[in-house]
Symmetry: C2
Subunit: 307 residues, 2 copies
């Protein structure tokens, strides 16, 4: 099967194929050596489905349920009570601090190794409520093909996500072919603990980095130390990364998934409260960002569907 | 030329060759899949010379000289005055805060791109005061061979250094074949700035991470998200990384360079104030760390010497 088989012919596919041809053409004026072929992808809504809420929220709920089964007092305490009761109004009223408390309760207080075991076990059985299949099967096939295509052309592919870094690492290698060390995400601080011949990294209930908006290019600076030549996002949270990528010298490509396909997935942009797409869509033309229409540009949406 | 040609036959070389054979033998009980073959190396004193002081200190001095040429008032202000006058007693008396101020003055207040230009220009001409050649030629040949050997066996090689991350990135690719995104080091915070179609990452005068001792495994957790199976250091600052590596499940190798070669390099351990080797040497046997004697185990020391 040819590369990018799930992409319809059109402006988006042409922009990708032309860009890759230009930067890989030795002797050409836009040639980029392989070491500098860095491509960064947002995850939620860009590489896989983020509706009705991001996958990490489902993980959070299941993990808090598990914790509440062991400590029943949680069921009566906020913000746990609101989460377990799906009381979104109270959750919103409790604010950002409550969300961090839930995130810390579900991600912290255990070692990285223990967290990984929990996350892998969850991904092995947790299913999407609407699509009725494993979350790991809710990845977008055109994007998995694009990652393969870029790597076949000497690119190094990275995830730069607002989601928890260790949760993404638990499935990104299998789902996208992206190794753990090429995943950047939100993180808690870690503490090294050593006792005799045993050591571990404890995940602490303290935010290290909330990898969204301007923090995305900042974390690219820290983790990669090189400006990407291609970036792909789907919300305003990705706009600084897209602008950072697009404004480098030489050939650059910045892309934005527009979820306009109510039939095969969900049609949304401005109104999605958790991660709206407003400014990036309005300014796409100004900033030279290529908008990819799910409806028009993708022949197939999900990886799981029959080829 | 055969791999590890600059390594003398002996316990250290055997430990390396045996380890690599075991973890790469498919079907063997110690087999490790390529994705998990992570090797982490300290830089100063492990991959290149750190005497009489670390290379970053020479960079610091030259950079402060440059800044003082443009702002002569610095010459009369501490801690700049002490540094420019090589007044180490006053510098020590001024303490850690003074060192950070110097580091921030030399690394911050400019963008990552500007810093890289300055660092690359410096490496192109700055020479070692004792060995009289470029600092980039003061890398250890046996270690460069080891990095190549590991990569040829499917390992991914990383630097985990107390030195400034962006300074190391400016030469690591050429000197060691280690790409920028596989360098972990001390860092300042970054701020994303955007103006019309121009964007940059400004290096701020605020510490993000001082990558030494227990921070090394913590940063491995953040950047790599996987426990190394091989780690190489040369001081107590590397001990937590060596213990973290060695205490994982399965086959692991932790190594320590012992600088015992006054003739070809410098003989030192306990007394080197900037980065002493005391506990790691005393406890090496306890922790199963292989000590590499520069004098006994390396046929050649520097990369620049005739082969």
């Amino acid at each position: 099967m040819s590369a990018l088989a799930s992409w319809s012919e059109g402006a988006a596919k042409s922009a990708i194929v032309d860009f890759v041809a230009r930067v890989t053409k030795e002797g050409g004026s836009d040639y980029v050596p392989p070491a500098a072929r860095i491509a960064t992808f947002d995850n939620d809504g860009t590489l896989w489905c983020e509706q009705p809420v991001q996958v990490q929220v489902f993980f959070l709920i299941d993990r808090i349920k598990e914790l509440a089964a062991r400590d029943v007092s949680l069921k009566e305490r906020q913000p746990y009570k609101a989460l377990l009761g799906r009381d979104t109004q109270t959750l919103h009223a409790l604010g950002k601090q409550a969300i961090f408390e839930l995130a810390f309760a579900s991600h912290a207080g255990i070692s990285e190794d223990e967290f990984d075991t929990i996350a892998c076990a969850w991904f092995a059985k947790a299913t999407h409520p609407k699509f009725g299949r494993l979350f790991t099967q809710c990845t977008y096939r055109p994007q998995v093909e694009l990652l393969d295509y870029l790597r076949a052309n000497g690119f190094k592919t990275f995830i730069v996500s607002g989601g928890g870094i260790d949760l993404i690492r638990a499935f990104a290698e299998q789902a996208y072919g992206i190794p753990r060390e090429q995943v950047i995400g939100s993180s808690v601080k870690l503490r090294f603990e050593a006792k005799d011949r045993s050591t571990s990294l404890m995940k602490l209930a303290e935010l290290d980095s909330f990898d969204d908006r301007e923090v995305k290019p900042q974390n690219i600076g820290l983790h990669i130390g090189r400006r990407p030549i291609l970036a792909f996002g789907n919300s305003d949270g990705d706009l600084p990364m897209l602008r950072y990528t697009k404004s480098g010298h030489g050939a650059r490509l910045a892309l934005l998934v527009h979820h306009d396909d109510a039939e095969r997935e969900v049609a949304y942009d401005r109104e999605f409260r958790l991660s709206p797409l407003v400014e990036a869509l309005d300014k796409a033309e100004d900033y030279g960002i290529t908008v990819v229409s799910m409806k028009r540009d993708w022949k197939t949406v999900f990886s799981q569907e029959a080829r």
